[in-house]
């Protein structure tokens, strides 16, 4: 029996239960701030004092990475960038990078996507154009240049297949069959397909089986990929779920301010992570999702 096959998605109690499934040392494929981040699980990972995680940004990372790095949960990060968008630099990532307390593997977006797509197809690498001549190439341990075997004098770059231990994200719905709906956020499907295990929090439970609905099915990730789900209403906060709640821009600015110093970051954790009497509902979305 394959270790990958998932015939029965497990339904867990909450984000904390999901976070307990993610082992110390695991590599985790994570989406950017605009793409359904499972922030409740990220906060739960901080609370359970997860250690030595490797974060893989698909293709870049934001608040979730900054929180985990600041809280000391991360050993290594592979990503095209870490940014808080309009709120500016990710302060804990920046501090960790500048004090060299974090191993950083710098990538570029399409090489991450291609590495995951190689795993989707069960092949060892994917060839790509561009990138050659960038200093990224020499530093990245898993990229190699070859000559196009079908043409003369045409160097190509290979992205080695990326296999995260865990895919982690948030969904608009999970249904009773264990399928999850992420709409147009297809990078989440790529992460789910490529990862050994996939953990998803959801806004609401959908009665029935979404794959039976021709309009919903194209936005779904089939339960065959989903190891376990757990309910997390407003679970992406302070990030958003389109048409449900927007990105809380004011909160992101506040985070960026507080996390500039280690002491401020500790205070942020105290207020918004350790004391889970969560103020999510008192921080209304300041913009549309």
């Amino acid at each position: 029996m394959s270790a990958l096959a998932s015939n029965t998605t497990r339904f867990l109690a909450d984000a904390d239960a999901l976070a307990r499934e993610i082992a110390d040392g695991a590599s985790i494929g994570l989406p950017p701030d605009y793409s359904l981040v499972a922030m409740d699980v990220v906060r739960a990972l901080v609370r359970r004092k997860a250690k030595d995680l490797k974060l893989i940004g698909v293709p870049q990372l934001g608040l979730c990475a900054d929180l985990l790095i600041g809280a000391g949960c991360v050993r290594e990060i592979e990503t095209s960038a870490v940014t808080l968008g309009e709120a500016g630099l990710a302060p804990r990532f920046t501090a960790a990078a500048e004090t060299k307390s974090l191993r950083i593997i710098d990538a570029t977006c399409p090489m991450v996507h291609s590495g995951l797509q190689a795993t989707e197809k069960g092949v060892p690498f994917m060839p790509m154009r561009g990138v050659l001549g960038s200093d990224l190439v020499g530093r990245h341990p898993d990229w190699k240049t070859i000559d196009n075997p079908f043409a003369e004098g045409d160097p190509l770059l290979l992205a080695k297949a990326i296999v995260p231990d865990v895919a982690l994200f948030h969904a608009r719905w999970a249904d009773e069959a264990g399928n999850v709906w992420v709409g147009r956020r297809k990078e989440l499907a790529t992460i789910a397909h490529a990862s050994k295990a996939c953990y998803v929090t959801y806004e609401e439970l959908y009665k029935g089986d979404m794959l039976e609905d021709e309009l919903l099915a194209p936005g779904c990730i089939s339960s065959v990929y989903v190891s376990a789900v757990a309910p997390a209403p407003r679970g992406a906060w302070p990030l958003g779920v389109p048409l449900v709640y927007g990105i809380d821009d004011a909160h992101l600015l506040r985070y960026a301010q507080m996390a500039k110093s280690d002491a401020g970051f500790r205070q942020y954790l105290q207020e918004f992570v350790w004391n889970a009497t969560t103020p999510k509902s008192s921080s209304p979305a300041s913009s549309r999702a």
């Binding site: 309009e86 977006c109 154009r129 001549g133 045409d154």
Partner: protein
């Protein structure tokens, strides 16, 4: 003369640089390029603008990899890149400089090759940004002939000046200087060598019609996607909640 914000002048330059492109893609954290593109769309309604940062009605349905697939096929005519450092060979550095860490290279190392042309844009015009040689090449301005490359640099726009890229010479040419700066000021604040004509023209200022569009319909669409930028330039009246 019509009073204008510096960002509005830059947006007008961007609109001219986009020119007759059919499809322009704009990455996150690029509100001025986005403003320029939406300004141009009022003159050229057929222009397709793919705004990666769009929170609702985002142009992509295949996830964030679709941008790169589009570019790889040659379906993106114009893209924008910046840099913590940009050098005289049009190399850009988005990773690290002078001991400081920046967010990272994003898709630059791919888009610089695959978009039809790239407009380099950085507001800060100083010797610490415009350097002789970048400390880290996120994306190179030039590739040897055996490396297939569809596009590359077309221009470099800053808060002081517009440079045109000369592909054969592999050097920038100072094309115009914005009001408030001068050829000498640009020379003093640029760390790399470049060509310049004896008389450097002034960058045209926005027309009354352009300002009307920028502060009206363009400000509205920008505020939906870059709220902090819109508030900074056009004030609270541009915020989506106020409409």
């Amino acid at each position: 003369m019509e009073r204008y914000h510096p960002e509005e002048l830059l947006a007008c330059v961007i609109a001219r640089l986009i020119g007759d492109a059919r499809h322009v893609a704009i990455g996150a954290a690029s509100p001025i390029p986005a403003t320029g593109a939406f300004l141009l769309k009022h003159k050229v309604p057929a222009l397709r603008i793919s705004l990666l940062a769009r929170r609702v009605g985002n142009p992509f349905t295949e996830g964030s990899r679709e941008l790169f697939d589009l570019a790889g096929q040659g379906r993106i005519d114009v893209f924008f890149l910046g840099g913590a450092q940009i050098d005289g060979a049009a190399n850009i550095n988005l990773v690290e400089a002078e001991g400081r860490r920046f967010p990272g290279s994003f898709g630059s190392a791919y888009m610089y090759f695959s978009a039809g042309k790239t407009i380099l844009f950085r507001e800060e015009h100083s010797p610490r940004v415009l350097v002789k040689k970048v400390e880290f090449v996120s994306a190179p301005g030039w590739s040897p002939p055996e490396v297939q490359r569809r596009g590359g640099p077309a221009a470099l726009l800053t808060s002081k000046a517009l440079f045109r890229w000369q592909k054969e010479e592999r050097r920038f040419l100072l094309e115009s200087v914005h009001p408030g700066s001068s050829a000498a000021d640009v020379r003093a604040n640029t760390g790399f060598a470049y060509d310049a004509p004896a008389q450097v023209p002034a960058t045209p200022v926005p027309s009354a019609a352009e300002i009307g569009l920028l502060r009206g319909p363009v400000a509205q669409v920008i505020a939906e996607n870059y709220p902090a930028f819109a508030r900074k330039v056009w004030g609270a009246a541009s915020s989506p909640q106020a409409t």
